[in-house]
């Protein structure tokens, strides 16, 4: 049951009515929501439907142990055990094949060979997301025992909440659990939810699918078959495709949750409108980058243990963040390069800061020199950042590093021969860029217009937009990119 299918629309219709009929009825509501989560996850043609619940129970028990243990060392041991169990779920289902090959490669030169067959495991969809939620809950309880959730069902609901289980946003228990009893919604958020869902559908069905089908796939599969300009556009198009795909899913998830009275964290905030890489990571996949910051970068020492340590921490965080997507060299390379760029950006900022404090550089000079061409400078910074992000996406999207090199080679060969691109690519690219700026305003305006209308007219308008989006979308819709992670 894909979130953009008629099955899901019907499933959600029942869930929505029951949600509001049972809201505030304690265990009845919890039972209903748990059943809805289970049914949704079971419908994903996935395996081990009880896995999220296993993760939930294990985290509940460890959090309980941590909260009841006074001794610091023992609490730390419980926390480590919990993290190890969660990571072992991830390692088993996601990294098993990689670990097998790694061990095989180590043993092969020694003459030993792994004679055990490579077993194929089913991949439990969303495992990277719900295990990270589980880990964050236990660490939160370790840091502050007040954050303990008394009711185990609440932890299960938190881990398996159906709008977010497939691809996030990655929630924190402290945000979600209180909303089970007390819906966090008002008139505006309820109305905005429809706009968010429409925005998500438009991004995924119209922009992302179009770019994927008409340029990105061909460019990344057979780069040399295209002209350099087409490949270059394909690189930028993938940036827009992945943004529209993932933020489209996030919009749908946030919108459906909002209709049920749950407010979820933002996942994207104009990520391609920023002027440096530090800013990019504050605006891209926010729930994941803040998770990495709070549960990896800061525990590693963050920026409190000297500059070199800070750069190393940034590098470690980004490499692990890359590998979270999967055990593949392309994610390692992508994460590592982002780490390097971030460390470089921080080091330039640090040098500048120290020179400023030493009086070698005055703020006035910098401001004056920039104030001559502020718009030009800003536009240049924006374009450089967007281009850098787009070129780094090549490593993420290409089959392997040699294919990534093929893409770069095709771009920089300045070859005019080869497949061109359809004229609609350019408006689609522009629409993908513009939608991130105007999206929130469009949603609010849509809500305001709707609020002035009678309900049947509102429904007609909603249906009209929906049908238009369906008609504009392709016959076959590629799956959401982040479902594979």
């Amino acid at each position: 049951m894909s979130p953009i299918s008629f099955e899901f629309a019907l499933f959600f219709l029942i869930v929505l009515w029951m949600n509001w009929a049972l809201r505030g009825r304690g265990s009845a509501y919890r039972g209903f929501l748990l059943a809805a989560n289970t049914l949704f996850y079971a419908s994903q043609s996935t395996s081990l439907v009880f896995l999220p619940f296993g993760v939930g129970i294990s985290n509940y028990l460890f959090a309980l142990l941590i909260s009841r243990t006074k001794e610091r060392t023992l609490r730390r041991i419980w926390l480590c055990a919990d993290i190890c169990i969660n990571l072992s779920f991830l390692a088993f289902f996601k990294y098993f094949e990689f670990l097998y090959h790694a061990l095989d490669s180590i043993l092969l030169p020694t003459g030993l060979n792994l004679h055990i067959p490579l077993i194929e495991l089913y991949f439990p969809i969303g495992v990277s997301f719900f295990t990270f939620q589980g880990i964050s809950y236990c660490i939160d309880v370790y840091r502050d025992q007040q954050k303990l959730v008394r009711n185990p069902v609440d932890v299960l609901l938190f881990v398996s909440f159906f709008p977010t289980i497939l691809s996030g946003p990655i929630m924190r228990a402290g945000q979600f659990v209180p909303q089970i009893d007390k819906p966090d919604c008002d008139s505006r958020s309820l109305q905005d939810a429809f706009g968010l869902i429409l925005s998500g559908l438009f991004k995924k069905l119209v922009i992302s699918s179009y770019l994927s089908e008409h340029i990105v796939r061909d460019v990344f599969q057979v780069p040399a078959a295209n002209s350099s300009l087409t490949v270059l556009l394909g690189v930028y198009a993938y940036s827009i495709e992945i943004y529209c795909d993932f933020s489209g899913y996030s919009d749908i998830a946030i919108g459906t949750a909002q209709l049920m009275g749950f407010r979820l964290p933002q996942n994207f905030q104009v990520p391609y409108g920023v002027c440096n890489m530090q800013e990019f990571w504050r605006h891209w996949h926010i729930s994941f980058s803040t998770w990495l910051r709070d549960y990896l970068y800061i525990p590693l020492g963050g920026n409190k243990k000297g500059r070199l340590r800070k750069y190393a921490n940034l590098m470690i965080t980004m490499v692990l963040g890359g590998l979270w997507h999967g055990p593949h060299s392309r994610f390692l390379l992508w994460g590592g390069l982002h780490g390097m760029v971030l460390a470089l950006t921080h080091s330039i900022a640090d040098i500048r800061k120290s020179r400023l404090s030493a009086g070698k550089l005055t703020k006035g000079v910098a401001v004056r020199s920039w104030s001559v061409w502020p718009s030009v400078f800003k536009a240049g910074a924006w374009f450089s950042t967007f281009s850098l992000v787009s070129f780094l996406w090549v490593f993420f999207r290409a089959e392997d590093s040699s294919r990534a090199m093929e893409v770069f080679q095709a771009v920089f060969s300045f070859n005019a021969v080869g497949a061109g691109f359809e004229p609609w690519i350019l408006p689609a690219l522009a629409a993908g860029l513009i939608i991130q700026f105007i999206g929130p305003y469009a949603i609010h305006s849509f809500s305001r217009v709707q609020q002035r209308m009678p309900v049947p007219l509102q429904a007609a308008l909603l249906a009209l937009f929906c049908i238009l989006i369906i008609k504009l979308g392709p016959a076959g819709i590629p799956p959401f990119i982040y479902f594979q992670f």
Binding site: F12, R23, S45, E120, A419, P454, V455, A459, I477
Partner: protein, 362 residues
Amino acid sequence: MKRSKEVTPVKVALLYSMALVLVALAELPRLYSWAEEAQWKLSSGQIFAELGANLFKLLPRASDTPGSSGQDQKDASTRSDLEVTEVAQSTVSEPPSTQNAGQDAAPDSGGGAHTECPVVQDPLQAQSPEIPAPVTSPPKLEPHKALLVGDSMIAEGFGPALQRRLRKYKSLTVVRKGQYSTGFVHQEDFNWTSVLKELIQQDKPDMLVIHMGTNDPIDILDGSSKRLYFGTDEWKEVYASRVGEFLKLISENKIQSFWVGLPIMGSDKYCDKISTINSIFEQECSKVSGCVYFDAWPVLADSSGNYTTFLKGAGGKQTRIRAKDRVHLTEVGGDILSQHFLKSACRYIELPTDDEVSTAKR
């Protein structure tokens, strides 16, 4: 009508319900098809079986051999019109290089003459269908424009791998059209015959490779909204007529076509269904002049003819050839299949020699 600016949960649920009804009314044909499917799944209990099967499943079930469990099964060796006469596994020990594929690399040619077929560089030792050579050799075509069409199997895996292999040949231009979630069943959404007509007019290909059918093992709702259950004689008749219509268009345009049958699949039931579909493709292909059926079934099977996700290479290293859904091919899997296909196809088409290989060609 009273207008209120306050939005309440009930109002939201009502609004959602009304909008959904309106969308459903606008998409009535699709809804009807979906409702029929859902009703059948519910009444037959299939939906509960699927949900139940998902609860504890950790490892995929080992597939039976298609022959042991399938309907419409035939000996794999009799399923192909093509023959791979030489699988030179021992000549090349390195895996196919993706880096070289778009470069000046020589094609996998076994020699200098036109009539030589490319050598299959398959360190994973995939099996090729072995069929006696045709009694009479058909005249060979020197293709200039190849069109690859199909569903997601052409969009990824086999399609791009074959394109990468084909575009190494100087005289050949390759165009690929892979459309996700399409086939010959839901023609109201995407009609391949109409699309192909446009593609032929636009691209004027002289060689066509077709590889699709993964979305088709489902019931057909014909024009009178009658449900034709998959696998029944009625279903086969309608499905075959649709395939026949598609092939007729190709034949009318005098295009040399190759229908690449679907490879073995990872689930028993699905495997049986795909086998049924493959036999229709093969049967319809044999009725049309200029159409050659290539049996991909055994190419990606293991040495016992069973489904395998990993193929073992010469050094004992296992390589993933199938995607996690056990349907689609990885790029390595696609490349193996495309090499075996080309090896066989060269009985019908003239592929140039090493010195005719160029780089930057579409």
